[in-house]
Each structure stands twice: as C-alpha cells, then as structure tokens.
C-alpha cells in the first residue's frame, strides 16, 4: 500500500517534468518556413556538413570565416567574384574599366538584380555599401576600403570608384566580404536577418545546429537547382563523418580528419573531391626575439624539417608542399621548395655553430587539428637536429590569441593562415605576431600593390622569395580542400580559395 504511494508520487513527478519539457520544447523552433517566402523553384533539398558555426550573421562587426563561408556569393553578392581558378570575374558588375592612371574604376552594373526585401539593386546601393564599410564596420578587414577616396553613382547602372592611389589589392578585396552589396533598408538586423541579392535567401537559423538557405525565387541569374540548402554544423570530425555515413547529410564541406577518408574512398556511394586552399600551414618564428632573431637558427629549423614525411604523418599525405607564403592558385606562385631541402647534417651543423642547443625553444601551438598533429612531428624533427623543444598547446582561439598573437610570448608556433593573398598581412607588418621587419619585402609589397598587374606579379615573386630565403618562417604545407559527397552531386566548390562556400553551381546529375 505504502510503496504504491511512493511509486505513484515518483511517477507523477516524472510525468510533470516530461510535460514541462514537452510544452516548452515547442519554443525551440519557431515557424521554420516563416521567412521562406514565395514559391520554391525546386523541392530538392541538400544538407552540407561544415565545422564552424557562425556566432552571428553580421560580418560587419564580427570576424570569423564562418559568416562569409555561409553567406557570401550565396545570400550576399559582390560586384566582382573569384572563380575556382582564382580569377576575378563579373558578378553584379557585368563589366568594368580601369582608367589609365589606374585610380578610377568604372563598373557597369546589372539592372536585373533585386534584394530579397523587394528593392532593386542600383549603383546607389553600391555606393552605400562601400561607404558603410569605411563608416560603420568594426572588423579590421574594413581597412582594405581605406584606399577609396570616393564612390559615386553615375547612373542607376553605373558606379565610379576613385582610389587615393593605384591598388591591385583593392579590386581583389572587393571579391571578399567587404565587397558584399547591402540595401540601406536591409541592414536593420544584420546579425539575424541578412538581406542580399544572391541566389539564396536566408531561411532559418537553429542556433547550435544549422542554417537553412532557401532558393531565391526572384534571383536575376540562373536559378539554383536545390530549393533548400541546409548548412549543418559539427564540432567533431567523427560526428561529421558519421552523419554522412548514415545519410543525415549529403556533403562534408571540409574534411577535418584526412586519415578518415579511407572509409569513403573505396565506397561507390560517395565521391571524394580534392582541391586546394589558401591555407598555408606556417611554422612561424618570433623574428625579433633570441634565438629566433638569428638567421642561422631559423635556417637550421628549415633544414631540419622533412616536409614530405611531415605531411604524410600529420595530414595523411593530402596537401601541397610550398616553399613560401604563396599558394599555387595565386598568379605569382613559383616553386620555392628547393630553397631549403631536408638536410639533417646541415641543420645539425648550424645548431652546433649557433650554440642554440642550450636554449629550450617554446613551440606554442593552438588546439587545432592540423597544429596538434603536426606539432609533435615538428618537435621530433627539431630534436633530431639537436634542438631542445618544449611543446605547449594553447586553447584556440582565446588563449592562443592572447599569448602568441597579441603578446608574442613564443618562439615558434604553427598556424594555418587561411586568408587569401595574406603574404603582406603576415610578413609586411612588423607589428604582426611574426614581428618580421624587412624593408626590402615591405618595399616590394608596396610596389606590387601600386604597379601594373605585370609589375604586381614581379614584385610579389620577389617578396615571396626574399622572405623564404631569409627564413622568416617555415612553410610546412598548404592545406588541401577535401570534400566528400554523395555520388551525383555536382557543382561543389573544389577549391576553397574565396571566402565563400559557393552554393550557386550546385546540382544533381
């Protein structure tokens, strides 16, 4: 009798808890189709698994690659965009002319594009977007717009931008997020409701889980094949693989554990796509602090590392060996891997000569997959040459940013610099964490930016070679772009060389 009362009470408590959880659980997802709007052109749906979820959808105030990865070229369009070969191609601007002093750019704009809030896209919106980068953006990327003296709308379809001095990098940067075209009436809620002219419109965001993009029924260009594309975020590489294996997702957008590719490669249900990226995995040096301020020590490090074996061990052999801070998709790429071939004897001799064996070098790496797996290999390579190395893992981003990046309290670190054309950012500014101060490199970079496109190539090549010879860092390898997808899905962006995970070409064969 008495025991029944207890069981009944317990049962009641559990039921109450379940009911509470149930009724409140319905608030987790407000109406999922609320912002869908209009008739979807296709009912086919695709789910893409990615690793880093955006913290906000507003890239004007938040850095972080995840926001443009999801939105750029998909929701927001730019005047010019980067294609899969790294070439600048027309987008909202159908063509453009550069004046002979190379300071004035005249863009002819399409008159067909419309923002998803219904307003047509005109040159006035372009002027607004460009001015807004200078005025209201808070991320550091906005500095790329500093070179603009004036932007004005000649007509609804013609835009004229005047630069303070000629700049090759400006047009290139217009293919990135700072070139995103926004509507004056569409920026009220950038963090949760982006409004653009792109092939997709923003659908819903289930925080901590996924972002859904719906095909834009009024898109001015070729309509996307898929009516809905869901970007689903996974913290864990294994969970991402499992999701594809069990059919929860159709595509792994970026494989984080290349050694796991074997389970897909032999399977006829899947296709594995290997392309390239802008992500140079750099073994960076603190160039102003002893002992790394000594050229011979830096050279010893570069000779001591067996790059091919390292890439095989820590990234399953996927990737490209590079000898400097330039990926093969940049026009000024040249193969510099021969400058410092693996030479253990030479490394040992330089270690002896400099007496660096008496100092413990602090290799402080971020807790990121490639850094963790390569850190151990770098340490053992260096120890074979006679170096003493202490390996620290610093939590990324917070702890690594403060210790290594801001305070430069390190001797060596390993980090993939994934921004496109970032040689100047990483080695052209003595305040940057590499603390690399080389007047020759700085002059070459300046000349490259203001010169003709041909001069740009010449001077960029020179800068890349100088900093490699000077062993400003060691360049471990270039990250591959690895995609696994269900067979039959076409138009996946093979190379990850723009800021966008470009969904505009997706289809099904």
């Amino acid at each position: 009798m008495k025991s029944t009362r207890f069981v009944a009470a317990l049962g009641a408590a559990l039921t109450a808890a379940l009911v509470a959880a149930c009724s409140a659980g319905s608030s987790t997802n407000p109406n999922p189709s609320a912002s869908g709007g209009g008739a979807a052109p296709g009912s086919d749906k695709l789910t893409v698994g990615l690793v880093a979820e955006p913290v906000s959808l507003d890239f004007t105030t938040n850095d972080g690659a995840a926001i443009p990865q999801a939105l750029l070229y998909n929701v927001y369009e730019t005047l010019v965009k980067l294609d899969q070969n790294g070439d600048i191609k027309p987008a909202l601007a159908t063509s453009w002319k550069v004046s002979s002093d190379r300071k004035t750019y005249t863009f002819d704009l399409t008159d067909k594009a419309k923002f998803t809030n219904g307003q047509p896209f005109t040159a006035k919106d372009a002027v607004f977007s460009i001015d807004r980068v200078k005025k209201d953006w808070t991320t550091s990327l906005k500095s790329a717009m500093d070179v603009v003296a004036d932007a004005k709308a000649v007509s609804d379809t013609q835009l004229q931008v005047t630069l303070k001095q000629p700049s090759n990098s400006w047009l290139y940067k217009m293919t990135t997020r700072i070139g995103a075209m926004m509507a004056p009436d569409g920026i009220a809620d950038l963090a949760t409701k982006p409004v653009g002219t792109g092939p997709y419109e923003f659908g819903t965001w289930n925080r901590g889980d996924s972002i859904s993009l719906k095909a834009n029924p009024n898109y001015w260009g070729p309509k996307p094949h898929f009516g809905e594309v869901v970007l689903k975020y996974f913290k864990d590489a294994t969970a991402l693989n499992n999701a594809l294996l069990t059919g929860t997702i159709n595509v792994i957008g970026t494989v984080q554990a290349p050694e796991s590719l074997k389970q897909f490669e032999g399977n006829s249900k899947y296709q594995v796509i290997e392309g390239t990226t802008n992500g140079e995995v750099v073994l960076s040096f603190n160039n102003v602090k002893a002992p790394m301020n000594n050229l011979k020590v830096r050279q010893a490090v570069r000779y001591a590392i067996n790059h091919k074996a390292l890439m095989d061990t820590c990234w399953a052999g996927y990737g490209t060996l590079i000898g400097s801070m330039v990926p093969p998709t940049d026009p000024w790429y040249e193969d510099l891997t021969g400058l410092y071939p693996y030479d253990l004897a030479k490394a040992k001799q330089l270690v002896q000569e400099t007496g660096v064996a008496n100092t413990t070098l602090r290799l402080r790496i971020p807790t990121l997959p490639y850094a963790v797996s390569c850190g151990q290999v770098v340490k053992s390579d260096l120890e074979q040459a006679g170096f003493k190395v202490a390996l620290d893992q610093l939590e990324f981003p917070a702890a690594w940013l403060t210790t290594v990046f801001k305070n430069a309290d390190y001797d060596m670190s390993i980090v993939a610099h994934v921004e496109p054309r970032d040689l100047g950012a990483v080695f052209g500014n003595p305040q940057y964490y590499t603390r690399y101060d080389n007047k020759q490199v700085q002059q070459d970079l300046a000349k490259a930016d203001t010169g003709t496109p041909q001069e740009q190539i010449t001077y960029m090549k020179a800068a890349a070679k100088t900093l490699s010879e000077d062993a400003a860092a060691d360049f471990l390898f270039l990250l591959p772009n690895l995609i696994v997808a269900d067979k039959g899905i076409t138009g996946l962006p093979k190379n990850a060389i723009s800021e966008s995970f470009d969904l505009s070409q997706l289809g099904r064969s």
């Binding site: 025991s3 207890f6 959880a21 409140a24 659980g25 901590g208 940013l401």
Partner: protein, 316 residues
C-alpha cells in the same frame, strides 16, 4: 518540520550567492580576451580596446560582478558579447533540449535499475545475481561518451537502424525526434542505470536484513511479499539520495554526450561560449546548472520528509 524547510531554503539561497562569486571569479582568471576573440586575428589594438569598453570589460571587476548579479536578481540574464542577442531565450531553448535528454535518460535508468537491482538483491547468492552484479560493475566503469560512440558504431553505422546524430524538435517531426533521441538517451541512461542498480541492490539487501522483514516472514509472507509491503519504502530513501546526485551527473554528462551526438543543448551552448569567451553566457549557463542541482537537492531533502515520517519527528 517548517523550521527544517526554512533552514533548507536558507542554505539554498546562500549556496546560490556563493556560487555566483565563484563562477564570476573563475571567469575573471580565465586567460583570453572576449573582445579579441570576437574581432579575430587581424584586429588592431584600438578596435579591441573599443570593443572592451562596449562590453564593459574596462570597468573594475566588482562593478562588472554587481551589474551581472543585479541583472540576475531582476531575471535579466544580459546580452551575449558575441551574438548581441538576449541570453535568456537562448538558454531557455537549449535547456529544453537538454531536459528532454536528461529526463528520458533518467526514466531509462529507473526502468532498468529498479527491477534489475531488486532481482540482484533477491538472488544475491545465486549465479544469476552474481552475473548481473558483474555486468552492472562493467556498466559503472564505462563513461557515457564511450557508450555513445559504441552505440553509434553498432546501431547507426553498422545496422543503420537509427541516425548517428542530430536533433529535431518534437513538434517539427515527432518520429525523427524519437529516433534521434534514442541513442543519446540510452548512452546516458544505461550508464546511470548501472550505477543506480548497485544502489537499489544494496538498499534492498540492507532492508532484507532488518528485524521487521524477519517478523513479516515469520507471519508467513514470502520474501517478495515482505519486500513489497514493508521493504520498498525504506529502501527508497538511499535510492532517492542517489537519484538526486545522479541528476547532477546527468546534466554534466549531457554536456559531453551532446557533443558526441551533435545536439544543440545547454552543454553545446556552454562549450561554444567558453571557446568564444562569451563570458556572460558562460556565467549564466553555469548558474542555471548550479540552480538545477541545488533545487534537485532541495527537493530530495523535502522528499525524505514525505517518505519517512520518522524524520518529521526527529527534526521537530
């Protein structure tokens, strides 16, 4: 009795205030700067400084603390540094997801543990009881995330019966919801069941040795009848204590299991906020967890009074 309830409430409130201080202090010593994380690798020092002022991070720690708990006292959880969205609704959404997981796991644990523990106790000298006992020992040793990985490997990848991960709200697709909830709830629930089984077993063994059971047996009741009529209620007291503790373990275990199963619950919100140094969110989530644990303990204490009338007398 009333005094006891008042005293418990006092302890609850004091613990809450003490934990706000602890949580805030931990966040203050955590290395890393929220403003720099938000602005990323290319940010200038000026921009970082300006954002720190916007976040209010340039104020003295005491002022930051007071404005935070001042907000809490008014049920205002503040605004996220990173997403600029109010934190309250975010936590509410995520908490519901975690509650589904934790409550289902708890039900699984109870449904498995109570009968199994009873059987083990009644047969504790027989081979079947020993075997069950050994099995539960193995269960105790397995962490929930490992159980999760094993379950995924067998039931999702191997057999393809259930999805490997993901989350669908019940009102969107109830069938998918149940499918996706099954494996994570099992991995939490089975491990907890193993622990709970051992407590149920020993509680019942203790009770069976009591004089009143012997008396009941002497009146002619079978062991099962004696246990049902006289033993269960007494045995439930230690079991409820453990249940309260386990609820806390489950909430913590859910943090890890949510990561393995890619579930957007409180745990994944917490881990994301820690890595983004979204300190206010971290503080708020931890306080919600602390509150949950304290309230569970409080309720367990009150339940003793309901179950065991002797406690009502002695505390008077």
């Amino acid at each position: 009795m009333l005094l006891r309830i008042l005293r418990r409430t006092g302890i609850l409130l004091a613990s809450l205030v003490a934990s706000t201080v602890l949580v805030f202090a931990f966040m203050a010593v955590l290395p890393g700067d929220p403003a720099r994380v938000a602005l990323g690798v290319n940010a200038s020092d000026e921009a970082v400084g300006q954002l720190r002022r916007e976040f209010g991070l340039d104020r003295p720690l005491a002022a930051q603390y007071l404005s935070w708990i001042g907000g809490l006292a008014r049920f205002d959880l503040g605004t996220s540094y990173i997403s600029h969205a109010p934190i309250g609704p975010q936590i509410a959404d995520r908490l519901m997801v975690t509650l589904w997981l934790v409550v289902t796991a708890m039900v699984i644990a109870l449904v498995v543990a109570v009968p199994l523990g009873t059987v083990m106790a009644m047969r504790h000298r027989r081979p079947s009881g020993v075997l069950l006992s050994a099995l539960s020992q193995v269960g105790v040793a397995v962490p929930a995330f490992l159980a999760g990985i094993l379950l995924i490997t067998v039931f999702a990848i191997g057999l393809g019966w259930l999805p490997a991960n993901g989350w669908t709200p019940p009102d969107q697709d109830p069938v998918m919801f149940v499918k996706q909830l099954t494996l994570p709830a099992l991995s939490l629930g089975i491990v907890q069941a193993a622990v709970l089984t051992r407590y149920v077993r020993s509680a019942i063994l203790d009770v069976m040795r009591e004089d009143y059971i012997r008396t009941a047996r002497a009146k002619g009741l079978t062991p099962t009848q004696a246990l049902r009529r006289h033993g269960m209620r007494n045995a439930s007291i230690p079991v409820i204590t453990v249940l309260g503790l386990q609820l806390a373990t489950l909430l913590i275990g859910a943090v890890v299991v949510e990561r393995v199963f890619v579930i957007p619950g409180l745990g994944s919100l917490l881990l994301d906020a820690v890595s983004n140094r979204d300190l206010i969110v971290v503080q708020d989530v931890v306080m919600v967890l602390v509150l949950a644990v304290l309230v569970v303990n409080f309720v367990v204490d009150l339940l003793y009074l309901v179950i065991d009338p002797r406690l009502q007398v002695s505390s008077r």
